[in-house]
Symmetry: C2
Subunit: 311 residues, 2 copies
C-alpha cells in the first residue's frame, strides 16, 4: 500500500450536498457560519451552495445571500452548483469564481432527478462551460450513480466512462464520481475508477462516496490505492440521497480525515476543529452527528447526579 | 486485489461480546432466540455466552441456561468465553465443546480489565488449555488492544506478536486480534497482522475490529488483502468496549457480509435473514441498529397520514 498519494485534497460538500438533503433547514446566518468554520479548519475547497431554482430546492433559495456573507479566505475555493445558464448568471452576479455542474451515469436517474436525458444535460452545460471559460471561472463536474441507480439498478462502467470523458472534454477541470446511493463495494469502486482513469487523467478525478451501506471508507481505501487524490466528503455525514433508503448520508469528512492521517496522507485539516464543527452542525440540525469520529471524540458529558447516586 | 480469500468464516460475537457491553439487558429466552436465529442464517460460529463470574458480569449470569436452551445445529460451533478453571468447569458441566480465552497486548489494559498482568493471564490459561486438550475441547484465544490502549496509548506490534505466539503455543487453534477501542487505520492494521503472521500461521488468525472511529471495514479490507480469512463481527453492531469513548461497538456483521459478498468472497450467510435478525435485536435493545446495511434494507415504514396530507 505504498502507492497512496502523499497528500489528498478534501472537497467539503456539507454546506451544499449535505444541507440540501437534510430535513431540518438551518438559518442563512448559520449556513454562513458553517462555511466560515469549515474554511478555518484548513479545508481548501468548501462547496458553498447551489444556484438552482428556489422552486426546486427551497432549502437553497438563499444562495446569493449565503455567498455574499461568507468571509472568503485566501487559498480556499468556494464552488457553487449551477444547473443551467440562468443559474450561472445568478451565480456570477453574486461574485462566484468556481462552479459545479451535475449529471448522472444512469439514464433513469438523470430523467427523474434533473428531468433531462444525460445527453440533454450535457447539451445544457455546453453554453455554461463556454461562458465560464471566457469568464475565467473553473468548472467541476459531478457524475452521480456511478456504482448503481435506485431506478435502473446496475450501471455499466462504460456509461460512467462516457459521461466522465464528455464532461472533461467540455472543460471540467475535475470530475467527481459519485456513488449516490452508497451500494458500491471496494473492487467495483476500484474497477470503475480504473476504467475512467483510462480516459481522463487521474489528477482530474475525485471520488464521492455515501455511507448508506457502511462501505464508504473501504471504497475510498481501494480508490486511494489506485491513485485518486481528491475526495468529496460532508462534515457530520450530512445529507444523503433522498431517493436512497436508509438514513445515511455522505461519508463524514471527519472519518475520512482520520483514516487519511492514520495512513500518513496529508490533508492540511485540523481534525479536532473539524469534529467540533460537525458536532455544532449536528446540534443545529437537532440530530446526532453522522461522524463516528465526531462521536468518539466528543467531550465527556457532565456526570448525571441521578446516575452517580446509583453507583 | 486478487489475493482475497475465496471464502471467509465469520465469527459472530454479538450474543457474547455484543450483549455483554450493552446497557439494556435482554431476557434469557431472547438470548436463546438470538443465537438460534443467527445459526439459521448460515453462520458457522456463534459465540454464545461467557462463563465469567456473575459478580463481574451480571448480564451473563444465565450462561448455563442460555447454553442449555439453544437448538444446536450440526456444523455450527458455539464457543463460550472462559476466564479460568472454575469457568471451565462450569462450561463443561453445561456441555460446552469449544471455549475462548481472553488477554491483551497492553499491560495496562490487562491489569485494569482482567486484573492480572499479561503473563499472569497466560499462566492462568495454561491449566485450562491442558484440560481442554485432554477433553477434546477446542480453544480460541483473544488478544485485545492490538492497535491501541485506552490507558497506555500506543501498543508495540512486538507485544501483539509475543502474546499471539504464546497463545498459539499454548494450544489455541485460532487467535483473534482485536482493536478493542477502534483507533486503528488500514496500514497499521495490515502491518500488525503481517508481523503476527510471521510467527503464527495466517490460517490460525482472525481479525476483530470495532467501529468507534468508522475504520472497521477499511481495516478489514486491508487485512483481507493480506490474506486473513476469519473475521469477528457482531450483528447490529452491538457492544463496544465500555472503556472506549463514543457509542460505537463491534463492526456490524451485516456490513461485513455486504462488503465480502460485493468482493465476491463467499460467507455462506443469508444477508437478508441476518439483517432482519439485527433489526429484531435492536428493537429488543430499544435502540436503532448499529448496522448501516440493517438500516438501508429496513422495510419502508407505513406512510404517516399527517405527512401525506402535507403533500
Amino acid at each position: 500500500m505504498s502507492q497512496f498519494p502523499a497528500e489528498v485534497r478534501i472537497v467539503e460538500v456539507g454546506p451544499r450536498d449535505g444541507l440540501q438533503n437534510e430535513r431540518s433547514p438551518i438559518a442563512t446566518a448559520d449556513k454562513i457560519a458553517l462555511i466560515d468554520r469549515l474554511s478555518e479548519t484548513g479545508l481548501r475547497t468548501v462547496e458553498a451552495t447551489s444556484f438552482v431554482s428556489p422552486k426546486w430546492v427551497p432549502q437553497l433559495a438563499d444562495a446569493a445571500e449565503v455567498y455574499a456573507g461568507i468571509a472568503r479566505r485566501p487559498g480556499v475555493a468556494y464552488p457553487v452548483l449551477v444547473p443551467n445558464e440562468q443559474g450561472y448568471e445568478r451565480a456570477r452576479a453574486a461574485g462566484v469564481e468556481e462552479i459545479a455542474v451535475f449529471t448522472a451515469a444512469s439514464e433513469a436517474f438523470a430523467r427523474r432527478n434533473i428531468n433531462a436525458s444525460i445527453d440533454e444535460s450535457l447539451r445544457r452545460f455546453a453554453p455554461v462551460l463556454e461562458r465560464a471559460a471566457g469568464d475565467g471561472v473553473r468548472v467541476r463536474g459531478y457524475v452521480s450513480t456511478v456504482l448503481g441507480c435506485p431506478y435502473q439498478g446496475a450501471v455499466a462502467v462504460a456509461d460512467v466512462v462516457r459521461v466522465a470523458r464528455r464532461l472533461h472534454a467540455l472543460g471540467c477541470y475535475e470530475i467527481s464520481l459519485g456513488d449516490t446511493i452508497g451500494v458500491g463495494t471496494p473492487i467495483k469502486a476500484r474497477e470503475m475508477l480504473r476504467a475512467v482513469a483510462g480516459e481522463v487523467p487521474m489528477a482530474a478525478l475525485a471520488v464521492h462516496f455515501h455511507d448508506t451501506y457502511g462501505q464508504a471508507l473501504a471504497n475510498l481505501l481501494a480508490c486511494l490505492e489506485e491513485g485518486v487524490a481528491v475526495v468529496d466528503a460532508a462534515v457530520a455525514g450530512t445529507g444523503g440521497c433522498p431517493y436512497a433508503r436508509g438514513a445515511s448520508g455522505n461519508v463524514a469528512t471527519e472519518d475520512v480525515v482520520y483514516m487519511l492521517h492514520g495512513l500518513g496522507v496529508r490533508t492540511g485539516v485540523d481534525l479536532d476543529a473539524l469534529a467540533g464543527t460537525g458536532r455544532w452542525l449536528a446540534a443545529l440540525l437537532g440530530r446526532e452527528t453522522g461522524s463516528r469520529v465526531g462521536r468518539a471524540t466528543a467531550p465527556a458529558p457532565a456526570p448525571d447526579p441521578a446516575e452517580a447516586d446509583a453507583g
